[in-house]
Structure formats: C-alpha cells, structure tokens
C-alpha cells in the first residue's frame, strides 16, 4: 500500500464569480522511501495538492476524492492531526518560515518541546544532533545564531532540521531550492536524498524545474490544469515522455534546442481556473490534437510503470 494514496482528488474554492477549480483530478501513489516529484507550471494545482494533504487548503474549499489516504488514514478528516506529527512542510522561502527575532536554539527547541517529552539538556543535545544531521558545520554556532546571520542554504537546512524534529516521516517540499543558488540547491537536494536513505523518509517534491526532478527524484507526476496527466519513473518521464504536454515542456527548455536556435514555446495559455473542461485539458494547445481530444476524456496509456492520459496510441508517444 502506498504511503500517500490519492485517487481523483479535486479542490474547488467557491467565489462570488463561480468556483475556482484549483485541483481538478489528481492521482498520486507515493511509496515509502521514495522522492516523488510533482511538476507543473504556475496554476497547475501542484501547491494546492500539497496544501490539501497538509490540511491547509483555504477555508471553504471543497475537497473531494475517490481516495485521499495517508498510511491508511483519510486525510479529509485527519490532515490537521497528522501535520507536524507525521507530515512536515519545507517551503520555498526558509527566511519566511523562520522567526526573525528568535534564535535558532529557541525555534528548534520550541518544536522539539512540542513533540517530545525530554528534559532541557537532552533537548539541546537533540537540537545539536539534528543540525549536524542536516550537514551544518559548527552546529553550536548555528544554535546561537539568528536567521539573518545564516545564508539561504543554511536557513533551509535549519527548516529541514525543524521538520525532522517533529518526528515526521513524510515531508512535503514545496520548491525547496527555488530561492537558492544552483550549487547550494544541489547540496540541499543531496541532503534530502541522504535523509531519505538514512532515516527512511518519504518526500513529495513540488517543483517547476525539470533539473530538480532529474537530480533528486525517483518517480515523477506531471500536472496540467489541475490534472495529473503523466506519472512514472523519472528516467521514463524525462527520456520518453508519453503526454504531449510533457514533451512540449521538455522541448521548451533552453538546452533542448541548438545554441541560438528558436525555442519551441508552447502556444496559447492554460485554461482559466473557473472554466469547465471536457476532454483533454491540453487539447487546445496540443500540436497533435484530433477531433476526439476536446470531446472526450483521454484514456490511460501505459508502458510498464509509466502511465499517461492521451487519445494518441502508445506507439505515437
């Protein structure tokens, strides 16, 4: 049984101008011990999927799903209880996740104290060992520091230490490296991989960056207009993508074209979040669209563990 088992999740937010369909139909199966990437462009629903799993969807949001389970528990009822106990969040901006006027020692201790019954000296030892586990040199000095005295990479390591301090075994990392320099981001990703291997963590990695997927993830799910359109092992998704959207996304990258040549930009824009979609959401922008594409929902295509939704037959991919 997957640790996170999501089947046909939808999140709608009612507004005076009609419902905003932030997530239309997302299915995710995340196995224990894997780093699972969720990739998509702005507005495709990747962050809202993560927020729903944390019980942090906006007030009034309607969450429906065929299945929305974490380790056998229904997230619709238990997300708030699981958050901070078994599910942790690593956000994009570590500086915003840390309190600027409290020392790291105090902030880390607050988390440890809230979750574990330990005497003060033991908590301090635990804080030091957590900071050391995230690869921070000189944890003693970090403990005495305030967030502004640390670099972005160091701040992100402190946030990861905080998530570990809760005892969480499932981390939702929402663009954890976007605000960091490439080489620092690579170090943070390497740290996450190490923690997954050493502590048996499972990570849902939300990103818009194919390089992050390639660098850190075992499997990936591609989201488009609030729907999961493709999922599979990273090598299969990146090297032989099945869905035309995934292909278009990869072709639009600057290193996909010869030096100086025109890039294959995707024409058009994503469907507005309030509109209803019949058929395939990508059909209006798809270079291979057929009449059936905008009329009927696409069937599932499959090549071993690699699955995608498309009217085109498998061999066309």
């Amino acid at each position: 049984m997957p640790l996170l088992d999501v089947r046909d999740l939808s999140v709608s937010i009612p507004t005076p101008d009609g419902d905003v369909h932030a997530v239309r139909s997302v299915s995710l199966e995340i196995e224990r011990g894997e780093i699972h990437g969720v990739i998509g462009e702005s507005g495709c629903g990747k962050t809202m999927t993560g927020m729903a799993a944390l019980g942090l969807a906006p007030k009034g949001a309607r969450i429906t799903a065929e299945r929305f389970h974490f380790d056998g528990e229904d997230l619709r009822e238990n997300a708030a209880r699981l958050r901070g106990r078994r599910i942790g969040l690593i956000s994009q901006a570590p500086a915003a996740a840390l309190n600027p006027v409290l020392s790291i020692a105090r902030q880390l201790d607050d988390v440890i104290r809230a979750h574990r019954d330990m005497p003060r000296q033991a908590r301090r030892a635990e804080a030091l060992s957590l900071l050391a586990a995230t690869g921070l040199p000189d944890p003693e000095r970090v403990l005495k520091s305030y967030p502004h005295q640390l670099s972005g990479g160091m701040q992100q390591r402190v946030v990861i230490a905080q998530a570990l301090a809760t005892g969480a075994d499932f981390l939702i990392a929402d663009e954890p490296t976007t605000a960091l320099d490439v080489s620092v981001g690579a170090q943070v990703l390497a740290l996450l991989r190490k923690l997954v291997a050493e502590r048996g963590l499972t990570v849902l990695m939300i990103t818009h960056d194919m390089d992050v997927i390639a660098e850190a993830c075992d499997r990936a799910t591609v989201l488009y207009a609030g729907r999961s359109v493709e999922t599979g092992p990273v090598a299969a998704v990146l090297q032989s993508p099945g869905h035309p959207y995934t292909r278009a996304l990869l072709a639009a990258l600057p290193d996909a074209a010869p030096h100086g040549a025109r890039l294959a930009a995707i024409e058009g824009s994503i469907p507005p979040p309030r509109s209803a979609i019949t058929g395939c959401a990508f059909a209006p922008r798809c270079p291979q669209a057929m009449a059936v594409c905008s009329a009927e929902p696409p069937p599932e295509r499959r090549r071993d563990a690699h699955r995608w939704l498309c009217h085109l037959p498998e061999d066309a991919a």
């Binding site: 462009e41 702005s42 972005g152 320099d181 490439v182 080489s183 620092v184 981001g185 690579a186 818009h208 960056d209 194919m210 390089d211 992050v212 390639a214 660098e215 990146l238 278009a248 996304l249 639009a252 990258l253 600057p254 290193d255 996909a256 074209a257 010869p258 030096h259 100086g260 025109r262 890039l263 294959a264 930009a265 995707i266 824009s269």
Partner: protein, 261 residues
C-alpha cells in the same frame, strides 16, 4: 581593423567601504575585464554575492568605481550630470520582476510613454504610433494599451517591461534575470522575443542570470563570476565545450544530462 566594441570593461574594481576606520573589505568586483561586441549578447553568470549585480550597477553608473575603466562609446566613467543623464538613455534595463518594475497605477500606454516624456519628447500622434509599434514588436495586442499591469500574466508583463526598455531606442539592453520568475514555456517565448529583437534592432545585450543553461542558449559570449572574480570569459561554445573551471562544470552538470549546446 575590427569595429569598436559596444562595451569595453578593463580591470574594473568595485569595493564597498564598511566605514572610515574599518579594514578594507575584499572587493565586490575584483578586476573584471571583458568586452561586448556590437549586436552580440554577453551572458553573465554567477551566484548571489558573485558581484554580477555590482557590475551592472557600475555600468549604469549607480555605483562608484574604485579603479579601472569602462568604455561605452566614450570614456563612460568621465561623464557627469546632464551629459551622463543623456548618454544613459541609450541603455535599456529589464529587471526580474515585472510587477515590481511596472507601476500598478498607470495604464500600459502611460507606462510606455513615460520614458519618452522624461526624455522631452512631445505627446501626440507620433508618440502614440511609436507606442503601438513597441507593443506589437513585443508580441502584444493593441487592446493592451488601456490595461494595467495587474491584469496581465507574468509573461505579458515582462513583454511590457521589454517594450518600455526599448522606448528610447537604446543600443544596449541590460537584462537582470529577465526570465527567472517565469514558467518554462513562457521563458521560451521571452527568449525567442529577445532573439527577434536583437536581430531586428541590432541590439547588444548584457544578460545576467544564475541559470547557466538559459544564458548558454542565448549568449554569444559568456562571463562566469565567483566571489568577485571573473573565473571564465570566452565564446559561449568554447566555455560550454571545455569549461576551464571546476565551478563552471558544476553548474553545467546539474540536473538533466544530454545538453545539446
């Protein structure tokens, strides 16, 4: 003889002073030398703290220079006052976040008119025509004139920012992380637009980014900076094919392999 370069920077040193009696800190830019040929794009890559922003600010004369020379058609560091103000109109600037650089209170038409009015051009039919041309050159429909920045997507807003930078017909365009806040598919559109504009207007560009793959695609020459030092400068193909520095190799090896540069 080769024609004079657009921009020629020679052993430029920029140092921020901590205080009157404080020890002299390491320079933010430590003797940078490079040139940008006319009609070419120079990519500047580096992490935060590498000195790339200081370098840009010095070229825009927003920062004092400790030593070294900048030639931009003339002795750029000797210009003062009104002469500097006039000369600087020949540089267009596009920054990372269009929603911060475009006034939320003005319509797109007013935004595009602003630099021309500031340069003393008269309002009228000629200016309106110029604004319409700028808009269409940057791939935006004419009915955008009455809109405001918040009604646009990130990619559309960045096109407006590029159109504004071109309003005074600059020869040099400085782009500071122009696609870093955009989605991949939109980034591709903006990079294509920049290639078109470079072609049609004969622009020279300084393209600053932390994303080596983006800059490797669009630039003719490449400058890699680290902690104030220029660690690599050369034709893009040469730098990519045979990076001299371990640091450049590290940047290139991140993520998906099989880069076809």
């Amino acid at each position: 003889m080769t024609p004079a370069p657009m921009l020629d920077v020679d052993t430029l040193v920029i140092r921020y002073r901590a205080g009157l009696f404080a020890a002299r800190p390491k320079p933010a830019v430590n003797g940078a030398s490079f040139r940008l040929e006319r009609g070419e794009t120079l990519g500047i890559v580096g992490e935060s703290g590498s000195g790339k922003t200081s370098l840009l600010r010095a070229i825009l004369r927003l920062l004092p220079v400790e030593s070294g020379a900048i030639r931009l058609g003339q002795d750029w560091l000797a210009l003062k006052g009104e002469a500097l103000r006039k000369a600087r109109q020949k540089i267009g600037v596009v920054s990372q976040n269009p929603f911060l650089s475009l006034s939320p209170r003005l319509t797109i038409e007013e935004i595009l008119a602003e630099p021309m009015l500031a340069a003393g051009q008269r309002q009228g039919a000629a200016m309106r025509e110029k604004i319409a041309t700028l808009l269409s050159d940057c791939g935006l429909p004419a009915d955008f004139l009455a809109r405001r920045a918040r009604e646009l997507s990130g990619g559309q807003a960045q096109r407006v920012a590029i159109a504004r930078a071109l309003a005074l017909e600059p020869g040099l365009l400085i782009l500071d992380e122009p696609t870093s806040a955009l989605d991949v598919s939109v980034q591709a559109q903006i990079l294509n637009l920049l290639s078109d504009l470079k072609e049609s207007r004969g622009l020279s560009m300084l393209f600053v980014t932390h994303n080596l793959k983006v800059v490797a695609h669009i630039s003719d020459t490449l400058l890699v900076m680290r902690r104030g030092d220029v660690v690599e400068f050369g034709r893009t193909e040469d730098v990519i094919r045979a990076p001299a520095e371990a640091y450049t190799r590290e940047l290139l090896s991140f993520g998906r392999k099989a880069a076809t540069v």
